[in-house]
């Protein structure tokens, strides 16, 4: 599963970077993401991803790792976890690229992920759509948060 999304943020790259680099705050912009906390300073985080796909509720304890941080241009994170009830194994790698665009920043969100297990097999197309919606909303929320 590959996702790509671009959003214009009304904030300078440095300002946006400060938001991104405050990972729990950034995570709060991801729909369904909660309980984000830092485990190792700027390296490892924990969070819980809750999503509802129709009648199926997914609740995944995620371990998030910083793969690369190149302020203020690029942040790469990986996240993985498993919902033992639904039997879903999730692995995502998110690349956030910031480039100045006028007074603001053009943020490119690239995500590559897999939802393995029964859920993945039953609802591939639906999951893809759900993920797209989530990334879109993430972009919108980030834009709002960066403005405030």
């Amino acid at each position: 599963m590959h996702l790509a999304h671009e959003v214009l943020i009304e904030a300078a790259p440095e300002t946006l970077w400060r938001l991104l680099w405050d990972v729990p705050r950034m995570a709060a912009c991801i729909p369904g993401c909660g309980e984000a906390e830092e485990v190792t300073r700027h390296q490892t985080y924990r969070a819980r991803m809750t999503q509802k796909i129709g009648p199926i509720s997914l609740s995944v304890p995620l371990v998030v790792e910083i793969v690369a941080a190149e302020p203020p241009g690029r942040l790469i994170l990986s996240a993985g976890g498993r919902d033992p009830v639904v039997g879903a194994d999730i692995a995502i790698r998110v690349t956030l690229d910031c480039a100045p665009d006028g007074a603001g920043t053009r943020l490119h969100i690239g995500a590559e992920g897999q939802v393995l297990g029964k859920l993945g097999a039953l609802g591939h197309a639906v999951i893809q759509r759900k993920a797209e919606e989530t990334v879109d909303e993430f972009g919108r929320r980030l834009a709002r948060a960066a403005r405030s």
């Binding site: 599963m1 033992p84 009830v85 039997g87 194994d89 692995a91 897999q114 393995l116 297990g117 993945g120 097999a121 591939h124």
Partner: protein, 770 residues
């Protein structure tokens, strides 16, 4: 129906009484009344239920497995990982012993069993499965032939595999440092050099998809150990004796202590050849010291075995006059994560790649390639459908290029009856030309089609298995009834009925007086396998010999009783007859034993042995079939409609005509499945459609407008009464016949299956663009 019967000096021509008639299947009444029993209908006292935890990853290292919480679930007797299987040899596999009972350190495909649970009921088992925590480290996966064969590709197996137990695979050739686990090579004549003399050379590439057997009955096994370390397994297997060898090796138990019992199978199609669930079920039963049954879901059958997908490059060289001069086939078969019988598939499939044609110069090269997908195994046709799709398609292109009629071009190049296909192997034992002519006539080949219709034809030739062994016994009881003891598995094909017909014919008794024992390795004698369309020919001959053995005994007893030379005696309706005397079998048996109660035992062994044929043994017979089809296309959607299908199979003689028809009608429909509908779809290493909502097998609505299965019967088969094998052959021409019909209708040559509406639509659209 007339035929020659008998030897031993008594050769007469008289009508067959049982053979050649569509007698009712022995199991028909049981099957229509719900009394038929399959593995999942069986239980043992104290039996527990097993369930498997499968890897969600296509390729992953297993760092750890935490089973504590699972073990704590009430009703759970055992939670097992490979760490609990150190007391046995945990590897199995017919070609390479490369498949572990449960993943050892690494999982190689999505769906590989990683842990197992044994519980009082399925509910407790499911709860326990949820509570097993596996720490996986995902590894890069190769899930296509292209990925697996790329330089520097991730290796599915890094260790040297252990050899399996087949003599014909003693020359296994894994290429170290690659994903190639076996190669097959054969050159005939001058090889590729001959292409220089060709007036026309064509070359193309073709792809055959991963497809699933979808036997209605998913795999199942039940195992129980006794106090003397004897093992009994009730298994949905097509070859109990291969399973027995595997289990004996793994659990270090003498063959005599292992008993494999095979009730009815709910379909097999090759998917139930060789060990599948028997090793894990047996291991679990040993660990919990209770009988254990494992029945997997249909979804998990997709994660147990499938047909090998393949990419095939073919080159044909022809003379201007249409004579085939040279052929080269280079085929890569994807055998998935474990070799199963893949190495033999690539040999057998490629061996007859050039079809039923006389081609003096041939180069064949194929390889079996590991990928991180469901293991590829035997499936009706055994590698031949993949090659026939390619060669028969290209042959039609050759006809077009030479401006020749495709039927005519084929006819010109056909091997004749008795002609050698390959030095050292069995000469052609049927009449291809008669089959082709029948098919062409039935489809009205020489008459014009409606403008929106297209016709196509394709042929195939397939070797059966050799060297090979079938042994049988027939017991004639004190009342003159008989029991056939044979390990041929009844999986729907009707083999038990055919064997009973053969015994009844030889013994001159009614089929109602013949019983056929359930395959049981402690009772029914050795048989190599129920596959390769071999049972009628090989087990049929063994049963025939065993029955003839009894006949000879009866004649000797009678000869002594009435003081007549055996040569003057014969059998008729449960009596030995001679010189106007009729001696009923019970009376003869009482005479022989001096009391009522003894029985005669007849023995039959068919073992053609090794030969100088390239595959180590000559084929016992050639399976031969032709398909002819008329199609039309909905050009706007790409949907292909099969208006008429004619299948012609040369079967020597039909022992049971109705069953032969049933086999071939089923084969054609199964062929339509992979031709038009079926494909297992992977995304990365994830199988996306392992269920019947998303994987489409043919339905009744998919029946061709008209379907006819015809037979060529010249009584020239190697089996009993001139019969020979059928059932696989008619599936094989389906794809190329339809591809050829489409090419003639639309001008587009299709190279990749299945011909889904979208694929056809896309190709037609590309054609219509300038």
């Amino acid at each position: 129906m007339r035929g020659g019967i008998g030897d031993g000096g008594v050769t007469r021509t008289r009508p067959f009484r049982v053979v050649g008639h569509s007698v009712r299947r022995l199991d028909a009444i049981d099957k229509v009344t719900g009394r038929a029993r399959y593995v999942t209908d069986l239980a043992q006292p104290g039996m527990l239920y097993a369930a498997l935890l499968r890897s969600p990853h296509a390729h992953a290292r297993i760092r750890s497995i935490d089973v504590a919480a699972a073990r704590a679930v009430p009703g759970v007797h055992a939670v097992v990982t490979s760490a609990d299987l150190t007391w046995c040899d945990p590897y199995f596999g017919p070609a390479f012993r490369d498949r572990p009972i449960l993943s050892i350190g690494v999982a190689r495909y999505e769906g590989e069993p990683v842990a197992a649970v044994v519980a009082e009921d399925e509910g407790a088992g499911a709860e326990a499965l949820d509570r097993i925590v596996v720490d996986y480290e995902p590894l890069p996966a190769v899930t296509t032939l292209e990925e697996a064969l790329a330089p520097g590709a991730t290796l599915v197996h890094t260790d040297e595999p252990l050899a399996g137990h087949f003599a014909d695979l003693s020359t296994l050739k894994p290429i170290r440092g690659t994903n190639v686990c076996h190669q097959f090579h054969l050159t005939r004549g001058r090889g590729v050099a001959a292409f220089a003399d060709a007036d026309l050379t064509l070359e193309d590439r073709y792809y055959f998809p991963r497809v699933q057997h979808y036997s209605m009955e998913p795999h199942a096994a039940m195992a129980a150990w006794d106090e003397e370390d004897g093992l009994t397994v009730w298994a949905s297997t097509q070859n109990p004796y291969s399973v027995r060898v595997e289990l004996a090796k793994m659990f270090r138990v003498p063959l005599s202590r292992i008993r494999i019992i095979v009730p009815l199978l709910g379909g097999g199609f090759g998917g139930k050849t060789y060990a599948k669930l028997e090793p894990i079920t047996s291991a679990l039963a040993r660990l919990v010291r209770r009988p254990v049954r494992l029945a997997i879901s249909a979804q998990d059958a997709f994660r147990t075995v499938r047909r090998c997908d393949a990419r095939v490059r073919v080159r044909l060289g022809l003379r201007r006059d249409g004579r085939l001069l040279a052929a080269e086939c280079i085929a890569d078969f994807d055998v998935g994560a474990y070799a199963d019988i893949g190495p033999r598939i690539i040999q057998k499939g490629t061996y007859t790649a050039t079809g039923p044609y006389r081609i003096p110069n041939v180069v064949l090269h194929s390889q079996a390639v590991y990928t991180n997908t469901t293991p590829g195994g035997a499936f009706r046709g055994f590698g031949v459908p993949q090659l026939a799709w390619a060669v028969e398609s290209l042959l039609d292109d050759a006809a077009r290029r030479l401006d020749r009629d495709p039927v005519d071009l084929r006819r010109q190049n056909l091997l004749a009856h008795g002609e050698e296909f390959e030095p050292g192997d069995t000469p052609v034992d049927g009449k291809f030309e008669e089959s082709l002519n029948r098919a062409a006539e039935a489809i009205h080949w020489t008459q014009a089609t409606a403008p929106d219709r297209g016709r196509g034809v394709a042929m195939m030739m397939k070797a059966s298995i050799g060297p090979t062994v079938s042994e049988a016994m027939v017991r004639l009881h004190a009342d003159g009834s008989a029991t056939v003891l044979a390990s041929t598995v009844e999986m729907g094909q009707g083999a038990r009925t055919v064997l009973a017909q053969i015994a009844a014919e030889v013994l001159a008794i009614s089929i109602e007086r013949v019983s056929v024992a359930t395959p049981d390795t402690s009772i029914t004698p050795y048989d190599q396998t129920t596959s390769s369309s071999r049972s009628t020919t090989l087990m049929g001959r063994a049963v025939q010999e065993a029955a003839e053995d009894i006949r000879e005994q009866l004649l000797r007893i009678a000869a002594k009783a009435i003081d007549a030379p055996p040569a003057e005696l014969g059998l008729d309706d449960g009596h030995v007859v001679a010189r106007g005397t009729r001696l009923a079998y019970p009376a003869l048996l009482a005479e022989r034993f001096g009391m009522s109660g003894g029985e005669l035992i007849g023995r039959g062994i068919v073992a053609p042995g090794r030969s100088r044929a390239p595959l180590g043994g000559s084929t016992p017979f050639w399976e031969m079939a032709v398909g002819a089809v008329e199609v039309h296309v909905d050009e706007e959607t790409g949907a292909v409609v099969v208006d008429e299908y004619v299948s012609v199979a040369d079967v020597g003689r039909r022992i049971n005509p109705q069953q032969c028809e049933g086999q071939d009608e089923g084969a054609v429909m199964q062929g339509l499945g992979h031709t038009l509908l079926e494909q297992m779809v992977y995304d990365g290493g994830q199988l996306l459609n392992a269920n019947l909502v998303d994987y489409r097998v043919p339905r009744a609505e998919d029946l061709p407008g008209r379907i006819r299965c015809l037979f060529v019967e010249n009584g020239d088969g190697a089996g009993p009464f001139g019969a020979k094998g059928a059932g696989e052959g008619s599936l094989i021409p389906v794809s190329p016949a339809i591809g050829n019909a489409l090419a003639r209708l639309t001008g587009v040559r299709f190279r990749e299956l299945p011909l889904t509406p979208e694929r056809v639509w896309r190709a037609l659209r590309a054609r219509s663009k300038p």
